[in-house]
């Protein structure tokens, strides 16, 4: 069952010498429960596409259908509800909320959604090795611990789609491998789909399929990647 379909998505940002076209009609699709890697050079538009799919910004053209909802026509309020209820995001810099302890960060989105699930949060914490650190503030955690809290936060609200932007980009190789394995396990456990933006061939190779973006367009479809 197709969870996500993006068609002809375009986006430009104002630059000093006029608008800079970041996406020029990118298209992709992703089935529920599947994982997809989005690769490409820096500035190819990977993160922008991720943000548009997650309802963090609005495209200039094209359509994005997520779980039966047309994201591009949603109001600010509608997009906020979409992010809260159906999308989990993991950022490269973790971007935990600095004023909340790890435990509160972990359960934040689920509580915001109004569906906290303490046993599930507790299981996530223990699976990610965070049980002893939940009382700490983000500044008191290591990079690896912070990233694990960010993953737990994204999964605690049981989203339909998890978006991860270079989830292991700030971790050393060993930590990156462990965190990635855990993330994939947990995503599969929840039945969510996962879309990962990455530079890493190793990370991309762990996904069910991968797409390469070049100058704002999907340049290459690797085996397993469904056509939109």
């Amino acid at each position: 069952m197709t969870l996500l379909v993006a068609q002809g998505v375009a986006k430009a940002y104002p630059g000093p010498d006029g608008p800079v076209e970041v996406l020029r009609g990118a298209s992709l699709s992703l089935d529920a429960g599947r994982t997809l890697a989005l690769t490409g050079e820096s500035g190819s538009g990977k993160s922008t596409l991720l943000h548009l799919i997650g309802g963090l910004d609005r495209p200039d053209a094209g359509s994005i259908l997520l779980d039966g909802t047309e994201v591009t026509t949603l109001s600010d309020k509608g997009r906020a509800h979409l992010r809260r209820d159906r999308v989990g995001v993991v950022f490269q810099q973790f971007n935990l909320i600095p004023s909340l302890r790890a435990g509160d960060n972990l359960g934040f989105q689920a509580r915001l959604k109004g569906q906290p699930d303490a046993p599930w949060e507790s299981r996530l914490a223990s699976r990610l090795g965070l049980a002893a650190h939940l009382h700490k503030f983000p500044e008191e955690l290591s990079g690896g611990q912070q990233q694990r809290v960010a993953i737990a936060r994204a999964l605690a609200a049981k989203p339909r789609l998890v978006l991860a932007d270079e989830p292991t980009g700030n971790l050393d190789e060993a930590s990156a491998e462990a965190v990635l394995a855990l993330m994939l396990d947990l995503v599969r456990e929840t039945g969510a789909a996962l879309l990962v933006v990455t530079h890493s061939e190793r990370v991309a190779a762990r996904m069910d399929a991968r797409l390469r973006l070049r100058q704002g367009r999907i340049e290459e479809r690797i085996a397993g990647a469904p056509a939109p």
Binding site: R84, I97, L100, D104, F108, Q109
Partner: protein, 785 residues
């Protein structure tokens, strides 16, 4: 230099904060100083014209004036004395001097430099005074008028003959003695035995009398300045912190630290001078707006004439600039020191986060607790007016330093008790933001505590004063300038006459007056003693003692039953103490018989007791028989007294509002400068499914919530301040103690005002946040890559 200055181009708001904060601080400080300077200059002008507070004088005995024979005898004996006639003509003070014998630099020729001596000695005479004073003289006054800008305010100076003619007196009020007297001259007792030598210290110097009032203004000015410095401190600290990477790069490229520090100091100096100049302009405007009320206050409360218009004084401008420079140095010292001592390779020292906030708040609270202890110790040890103000200072700063920890504890409790995501985030976020906002909140606390304290003092004073007026102004009508014999035929049956007579007299070494009261139920029923011996009224009527006002009782350290010399050769025990608010003089009361035996002073007016229903008809009869201005009804007199009172505190009220406005501005600037650093904290909350509008609303709630908590903390601090003002400062400054009364409605009004100020301060940053484009928020996630 260009690299350093580029910071201000990129952060114009910060530059505005710095300049405006310093300008506001300087404006309020220099405004108050301009007012004080004008008052001081007025007293100096008065002193120069009549030798007040500077020259010895010879005074006549009670009840009579110095005669020409006495003056001539003294001159012949070698005493260099010059006579003075002094009185009031329709509210204008008339000073008569002898231009030929007056000390050099004294008298009409001194105040009107280009005046012709012959004009003063002509049969018509001449009056020298400021233009506004001359214009206010009745047209019927027959004398030439000479404009003299250097004359004391509210005063015309003339020769003896013209003064005697205008005031309708003969003889002189006193003889002033020239500073350089011949060494060989006969003793005063041999030449004019009935005259008494008064040294300058004994005279009622208006400068000294009003010193406490001006000290209060200075304290307020200093408080406003301190609140302004909080803004500057915050702005400089943030600017230096943000420039740290640029400074590190410059140092790494080989620019010596000393050169960088020199440039930074130079830059701050230029900004301070610019802001100081703006502040001086503001201060001049503040002073010009407030001076008429202050002049009214000093005239009403102390009888001291002060010019109602402002002159520009270079010394004032220089001292204002010096304050701006000194304030900037004080506010920037810690930031400069941090910059100078941080090793080249070390990253910024500014920390954020809740854990750091708690540690910092604990350190501040320790210092605050120490200061509160110090305030208590100073308060217990006494130490006069200076001690009182030291207690106030320690109390205020100590309270302000305790605020961050107090807020941290409350916010932490709120976060623990919240179950839902956004409320819990809001509590925790407010807690984490405390270090950035604490300076502005401390400024708000100080402004609000000062408001609560001063308004409680004023309201307590007003309530006590109104009650006091009800006691003192019990008679239905008051008539001036008539005799009892003229009055009696006009009064209805059963009416009672209460004569009002007073004689100036030094009491226990203090400038004062002796009053007389007729033994009448009016006084027994209406006056309330602060302390008294049993049967005080009966014993007073029997001539067995005297009553004294609180000022005399406290300043002379009297006790009930203590002897007091109330008239030449008449020493009586103190029978009771009465409140006498607004009177700067020591005062004692004698029964009618004793008073008339000791002083030849005729009554200056009469209080009339009639049935209230008959008062209006009697007033009409009296106004038909005497000039209408001589008949005043009780309500009119009360209204007049209250209007003087209200004017007195109009200035305090205006300064209160200004201080609160500065605190509101501090909050606005803190919120605006913090707004940019807030995005990394708010963007994740937005990304996880919160609307920008909701985040904007949370910002508003956070600011008003913090203001509410600060206001609640300001209440006990303000009441403590009021207590110190009423129980220590007022007693030392004015000699009376007023009970502390509570006015919860005033607090609610102030609370609403503070919340409104916080809401207004937070409105713009909140609006900006709610309209931040998603692309800007997304930069938080991409820029850090």
């Amino acid at each position: 230099m260009r690299a350093l200055l580029a910071h201000w181009r990129r952060h114009p708001l910060q530059l505005l904060t710095l300049v405006l904060g310093l300008a506001l601080a300087t404006a309020l400080w220099s405004g108050v100083q301009a007012i004080n300077g004008e008052a001081r200059a007025s007293y100096d002008a008065a002193a120069q014209a009549v030798g007040e507070g500077t020259l010895d004088a010879l005074l006549p005995p009670e009840g009579r004036r110095v005669t020409t024979a006495e003056w001539v005898a003294l001159r012949r004996a070698g005493w260099l004395a010059s006579p003075i006639i002094e009185g009031r003509l329709d509210g204008t003070r008339v000073l008569g001097l002898d231009p030929l014998t007056a000390p050099q630099g004294l008298g009409p020729l001194a105040v009107a430099e280009d005046a012709d001596l012959s004009a003063f000695l002509s049969p018509e005479g001449a009056l020298a005074g400021r233009a506004d004073v001359l214009a206010a003289l009745p047209p019927t006054v027959a004398a030439a008028r000479i404009e003299a800008p250097g004359a004391p305010p509210g005063t015309v100076v003339t020769d003896l003959r013209t003064a005697a003619r205008l005031l309708g007196v003969s003889g002189y009020d006193r003889l002033v003695l020239l500073p350089d007297q011949p060494l060989r001259r006969p003793p005063l007792a041999d030449v004019a035995p009935s005259l008494r030598l008064q040294t300058p210290g004994e005279a009622a110097d208006p400068g000294a009398l009003t010193a406490s009032f001006r000290l209060n203004l200075t304290a307020f000015g200093l408080l406003s300045f301190a609140v302004g410095l909080f803004i500057v401190h915050g702005a400089v600290g943030l600017a230096f912190e943000q420039r740290r990477p640029a400074i590190r790069t410059l140092r790494a490229l080989g620019v010596p630290l000393g050169t960088l520090m020199l440039w930074l100091v130079l830059e701050l100096t230029v900004l301070a001078v610019l802001a100081g100049a703006l502040g001086l302009l503001g201060g001049y405007l503040v002073a010009a707006a407030l001076l008429p009320d202050v002049a009214g206050t000093l005239r009403g409360l102390y009888g001291a004439d002060v010019a109602g218009t402002l002159a520009f004084r270079p010394l004032w401008a220089l001292s204002g600039l010096a304050m701006a420079l000194g304030g900037t140095a004080l506010a920037a010292a810690s930031a400069l020191r941090r910059l100078a001592t941080t090793p080249l390779l070390q990253a910024g020292t500014r920390r954020s986060g809740a854990a750091y906030a708690v540690r910092r708040a604990c350190r501040q609270a320790l210092a605050g607790a120490a200061l509160l202890l110090l305030a208590l110790l100073i308060g217990l040890a006494g130490g006069g007016l200076i001690g009182g103000f030291a207690t106030l200072g320690a109390l205020m700063i100590g309270g302000a330093l305790l605020l961050p920890l107090l807020l941290d504890r409350v916010l932490s409790l709120g976060a623990r008790l919240s179950r839902r995501a956004l409320p819990r985030f809001a509590w925790a976020d407010a807690r984490a933001e405390l270090p950035g906002l604490s300076l502005a909140l401390m400024a708000l606390l100080l402004a609000m505590a000062a408001n609560v304290g001063v308004s409680t003092m004023v309201a307590s004073f007003r309530a006590t004063f109104t009650g006091f007026l009800d006691q003192r102004l019990a008679a239905e009508l008051y008539v001036d300038g008539v005799s009892e014999a003229d009055l009696a035929p006009l009064l209805p049956e059963g009416a009672r006459i209460l004569p009002i007579a007073r004689a100036p007299r030094t009491l226990a070494g203090l400038p004062g007056q002796v009053l007389t009261l007729r033994d009448d139920p009016t006084y027994r029923e209406n006056w309330r003693f602060l302390q008294s011996v049993p049967g005080a009224w009966d014993r007073l009527a029997a001539g067995e003692g005297t009553l004294v006002n609180e000022q005399l009782f406290r300043r002379a350290r009297l006790s009930l039953g203590a002897p007091l010399e109330v008239a030449p050769g008449l020493t009586l025990p103190v029978l009771g103490v009465y409140g006498d608010y607004g009177n700067p003089l020591a005062e004692a009361i004698l029964p009618e018989a004793l008073f008339s035996r000791s002083f030849a002073q005729p009554p200056e007016g009469f209080g009339l007791r009639v049935a209230p229903a008959e008062a209006a008809a009697l007033a009409a009869r009296l106004q038909a028989a005497f000039p209408a201005s001589q008949v005043i009804d009780q309500a009119g007199l009360k209204a007049l007294s209250l209007s003087i009172f209200e004017r007195t505190f109009a200035v305090t009220g205006a300064l209160n509002v200004l201080t609160l406005a500065v605190a509101g501005f501090a909050l606005l600037m803190s919120l605006l400068t913090l707004a940019d650093t807030r995005l990394p904290q708010l963007a994740p909350v937005w990304a996880l499914g919160t609307r920008r509008r909701t985040l904007g609303r949370l910002e508003l709630i956070r600011a008003t919530g913090l203001a509410l908590l600060t206001a609640l903390a300001a209440l006990p601090l303000g009441l403590a301040l009021a207590w110190v003002l009423l129980a220590v400062v007022n007693v030392e400054a004015f000699g009376w103690r007023i009970p502390l009364l509570l006015f919860p409605l005033d607090w609610l009004r102030l609370l609403a005002l503070a919340l409104l100020a916080a809401l207004l301060a937070a409105l713009w940053p909140a609006l900006r946040l709610s309209r931040t484009p998603p692309a800007v928020l997304l930069k938080v996630f991409s820029d850090e890559r």
